[in-house]
Symmetry: C2
Subunit: 343 residues, 2 copies
């Protein structure tokens, strides 16, 4: 981790009380959500639309575990909301509101909280939701941001994680592995010196500002038998989607960005980062054979690239093979919060 | 804080992975909530009942701030859910589900997590809700439990915090100050030696196992103009309810338990703890004069004692007077998370 004079910021004047922090910096994020009562009540209200199921997910992020305490507060805020919106994207749901729990190691400076609120504002505008409530605490521990997001999906259209059948093809959106490589660039600017500055910046941005694939919602609801997002690594999340089914994955079918492909060309060990790293927030989608053409068309209409990784098969296990059919062994199958080190 | 060999528990075998913790100890808490998908999905689902608004509130509790890390894990779990259910109680809402975010400083022992799950089970059975989702993380900080609770209220019947009018009477449920005194007993078993062991145990239990006043929901929805729960101290929360209105509060109208009254008789300074302490999770309810008789009857039918603290008045400020009319000055008006010390 880069050295820093203070955990959050050494300069600027600090927020003196909770009400100031909430009313000055957070309450403006509720505009458009009357049920938030401008954060002046004990609770918030949502009047559900008819014919709608509500979808809930909650992924906190903690300094030293999911981000660096010295990161730009606008990036931290973006990521806190994005990782939650991504879970909704995988369910075919549309974000409508979120609760925010801030646990702060010290009263933040006005500069820090202002940047943090700006990052939240940018993210909620992009994802189409509003802040409706939450809580602010001082903590003896690290900065921790707990977001619980609430989404909406037409009744009965929630896309399950379990639901894939043998024969379904697994599609992945976008490109895989960029974020894990971006984390290495972010932690060590000298990493991957053979890449251009633009390529390194691209990878770092993928780590700092993931973009939930919300535009794919309609395609998922209409054509997917199951879906989830890649947060803990391609292989681990693929195993979750597959359940008891298997898949023979040709490594060359995994879509890579130009930067990731170049990194791998210089160092074959990068394959392990691509297979085991997480945080890309791309979607894995199981599609029955009869729906594949329609799914591809719907994804194209939504402007999202999708790649076919192959068919699930009840008679095989999950395996990865190289271009010549040689199995690739990976040591680390994915991320487990009980056996991890700091980012 | 009492000395302890380890932050959570020194004995027993530890949980080795996230899936074991979630599936063995937490998934059983979802029984009765099919939208939780046994915690095997990325998100949970609620199909709202017709003619229902959903109510959301989120109050995390952190070791060293809201409880002692050495506390009984069943008590910690109870409190984590109770403080959130209490916010719903104040809104006239009925708990239906909750999300749980556990941030653990180390993998817990089976004994610890089993007791924690038992405490959650007891609380959710009492409050009438189910676990539907959340997240588990390891953290370099203290144990932190983030609960976001979801309640239901008939459309348009949410009871606001702002809404009291001049002339409305303020009622308080139960007795005030027990929890703050119980905290002193909990931290120092030698506190209040003149009280009986039963009285000290009563106060400590009020601190450890607060009981949300959910049974008052119907009375609130029918008769209250505003309400909130006392989490940050009687005077601070009374000021929130009053808004721009004032109230001349006769200290002797504040309902005290036998134990609290006895503690005050021995030490008049206890009055400050009663006025400024929090965590009782009793409700403050504003009731228009015409509805007072009906409100009292409804509260009695619900089995909940309510006491009239006097009338809100647009022409005065909030003040506290002794039996002879002498104003009582208090130094600390209530709890602020930006200027607190450990519990």
């Amino acid at each position: 981790m880069p050295p820093a004079p203070s955990k959050m910021s050494a300069s600027g004047n600090r927020i003196a009380n909770e009400t100031d922090l909430i009313q000055t910096y957070l309450a403006p994020l509720t505009r458009g959500a009357p049920g938030a009562f401008e954060l002046r009540d004990d609770a918030a209200l949502i009047a559900p639309e008819p014919e709608t199921d509500l979808v809930f997910t909650s992924d906190p992020i903690i300094a030293g575990v999911h981000f660096f305490p010295t990161d730009n507060p606008a990036d931290i805020a973006w990521k806190a909301l994005a990782v939650n919106a991504s879970d909704l994207a995988a369910k075919g749901a549309k974000p409508i509101a979120y609760m925010l729990n801030l646990a702060l190691p010290e009263p933040p400076t006005r500069e820090w909280i202002s940047n943090f609120a700006n990052g939240l504002h940018a993210a909620q505008d992009r994802f189409g939701c509003h802040l409706i409530g939450g809580d602010t605490d001082m903590t003896p521990g690290p900065l921790s941001i707990g977001v619980t997001i609430i989404g909406a999906v037409p009744t009965g259209k929630f896309v399950r994680r379990q639901g894939a059948a043998s024969g379904d093809h697994v599609f992945v959106t976008g490109t895989v592995g960029d974020s894990a490589l971006g984390l290495r660039v972010h932690a060590d600017p000298a990493a991957f010196p053979h890449l251009t500055a633009d390529e390194r910046a691209f990878l770092e941005d993928r780590y700092l500002r993931p973009t939930p694939r919300l535009a794919l919602g309609e395609a998922l609801r209409a054509h997917a038998s199951a879906a989830l997002d890649i947060s803990d690594g391609l292989m681990k999340d693929l195993a979750r989607l597959a359940g008891s089914l298997g898949l023979r994955l040709d490594f060359d079918l995994i879509p890579l960005s130009k930067a990731a492909a170049s990194a791998r060309a210089h160092d074959p060990a990068v394959a392990e980062t691509i297979l085991g790293g997480g945080d890309d927030y791309e979607l894995l989608v199981a599609v029955p054979p009869a729906a594949i053409a329609d799914f591809r068309n719907a994804a194209q209409a939504a402007g999202i690239a999708v790649s076919d990784l192959g068919a699930l098969d009840a008679n095989i296990s999950l395996q990865i093979v190289d271009a010549d059919g040689t199995p690739i062994a990976i040591e680390r199958f994915g991320y487990d919060h009980f056996s991890r080190s700091a980012p």
